[in-house]
Structures are given as structure tokens and as C-alpha cells.
């Protein structure tokens, strides 16, 4: 049922990513949370490399770790208050409920994956996905999504600017 053979790389990357994710949500200081989030993203970028998508790994690092985390850090420093640093989980009952929901979901998905596992090829087919192909496919094969992406980017830029502007 092993989708991917559990070799050392996989184990290390999994540990990094999951620990980063847990720390991102549980760290006492928000700044540490943001840093752990960055670590988690780097772990995922490592997965992308091991899955023959190096360009996307670089995209992940440049966009998430390079840009989004900087934005998050800046915002944290902007809204910084003493109480924002305290552990801000809800009451114990709520946390337990959240844990249950999340656990059930994760277990059920993992169960489905384990059931479907044998049907998937265990040995990945040899990869032949050059990055030039990614470029040409991106630029050529999906015209409508590309235009939507442009609109999304400009909309997000303008929307965020107008939101953040000080009203006088």
C-alpha cells in the first residue's frame, strides 16, 4: 500500500513539513509561527523536487517563502499587540472538537488512499517532463485561464490596496 517507498528523503521531508505545520499553528509567538510556516513550505518544495517538478519548487520558495511570508511578517509587526502573542485557542471543548473533526477527516482520506493504493502504480513511470514543456504549455495551451489569472492578479492588487488605504 505504499504509494511512495518510504525512503529517507520522504521521511525527512515529511517530518520537516508536518512539524513546521504544527509549529505554525501552535507556536506561542506569531513570528515563530510565520517562520515555521516558511519551514513547512520549504519541506513541500522538497517534495516537489522529489516529484520531478523543480520549477514549481522554486516557484514555491520564491512566492511563498520569499513574498508571502514577508508580507505575513510585516503584517504581524504592523498589528502587533501584547495580547496577540498569547495562546489564543478557544476553550478546551472547542479544541477537542476541532481535533476530532480534523482527525476523522485525515483518517478517512488516508483510508481511501490506502484502499485505492494497490490500483496505483508503485513504481513511477520514468519522467520526461522538461521545464521548457511547462513553459510552452503555460503560455500556449490555456489561454482563458491565463487571462483570468491576469484579471485575478490585478484585481487582488487593486483590492488589497483599496482595502488597506486609509480613509480620510
Amino acid at each position: 500500500m505504499d504509494l511512495i517507498p518510504p525512503d529517507a528523503t520522504f521521511v525527512v521531508l515529511t517530518t520537516i513539513t508536518l512539524l513546521g505545520a504544527i509549529m505554525a499553528l501552535q507556536a506561542k509567538e506569531l513570528i515563530y509561527g510565520a517562520i515555521s510556516l516558511a519551514v513547512s513550505f520549504i519541506g513541500i518544495a522538497g517534495f516537489f523536487v522529489s516529484l520531478d517538478a523543480p520549477y514549481l519548487a522554486m516557484l514555491q520558495i520564491a512566492v511563498y517563502v520569499g513574498a508571502v511570508v514577508v508580507l505575513i511578517l510585516f503584517t504581524i509587526m504592523l498589528v502587533r499587540r501584547e495580547e496577540a502573542d498569547k495562546d489564543e485557542s478557544g476553550e478546551t471543548g472547542e479544541s477537542a472538537a476541532g481535533l476530532w473533526i480534523a482527525g476523522l477527516l485525515a483518517v478517512s482520506i488516508a483510508g481511501v488512499a490506502a484502499l485505492a493504493g494497490p490500483n496505483l502504480p508503485t513504481n513511477p513511470p520514468t519522467a520526461d517532463l522538461p521545464i521548457t514543456q511547462l513553459g510552452s504549455v503555460l503560455a500556449r495551451s490555456y489561454p482563458v485561464p491565463l487571462i483570468i489569472l491576469a484579471l485575478l492578479l490585478s484585481g487582488a492588487l487593486l483590492g488589497a490596496l483599496v482595502l488597506a488605504k486609509v480613509d480620510r
Binding site: L30, I44, L56, A102, V137, A156
Partner: protein
């Protein structure tokens, strides 16, 4: 692996009260989905490039979502001087 990441994300989304942490959780969920796209496209026979294309758009969309979300948090902070989502229950500032 991806399921566990998704689980952590859902947990964060449902439990945390700090708006920035909720944003973290959303990013984690999106990343879990991205990882699945790449992995399944890679294990197809023959491997597909389309998984990577989708993830490209997904990363772009998630980055924009983070930008707008953080701007929203800023506005909320400016109006209420708090980023606790449970205090943001008023429709009027």
C-alpha cells in the same frame, strides 16, 4: 502525508481565533492540495504536465488570497484594534 497536512489545516481553521493563524491554516490546506496534484500527475502513466500547470495557477491564487486576506486583517485591526475573529462579530464598527 498530504492528508495529515490537510488535517492540521482544518484543525487550525476550526479552532484558532487569531485571524493570522487562520490564514496560516488556509495556506496549509492549499499546499496539501497542491502536493496531491503534483503527486498524482507524476504517478500517471505517462506522467502529465497538466498537474504542474494547475499547481502554478493554484500557487498564484493562494498568494493573491494571502495578500487580500492580510489587507482585510489590517482593516479589521484598524477598525477594532484586535485581530481576534470572535470579537469581529459586529456588522458596524
Amino acid at each position: 502525508m498530504s492528508a495529515a497536512l490537510l488535517g492540521i489545516g482544518i484543525y487550525g481553521l476550526s479552532v484558532k481565533r487569531n485571524a493570522i493563524r487562520i490564514l496560516f491554516a488556509v495556506e496549509l490546506i492549499v499546499n496539501a492540495a497542491n502536493l496531491n496534484f503534483i503527486a498524482f500527475a507524476r504517478y500517471m502513466n505517462p506522467p502529465r504536465i497538466s498537474g504542474q500547470v494547475i499547481v502554478f495557477y493554484s500557487i498564484a491564487a493562494a498568494a493573491m488570497e494571502a495578500a487580500v486576506g492580510l489587507a482585510l486583517i489590517l482593516v479589521a485591526f484598524r477598525l477594532n484594534s484586535s485581530i481576534d475573529v470572535r470579537k469581529l462579530n459586529k456588522l458596524k464598527g
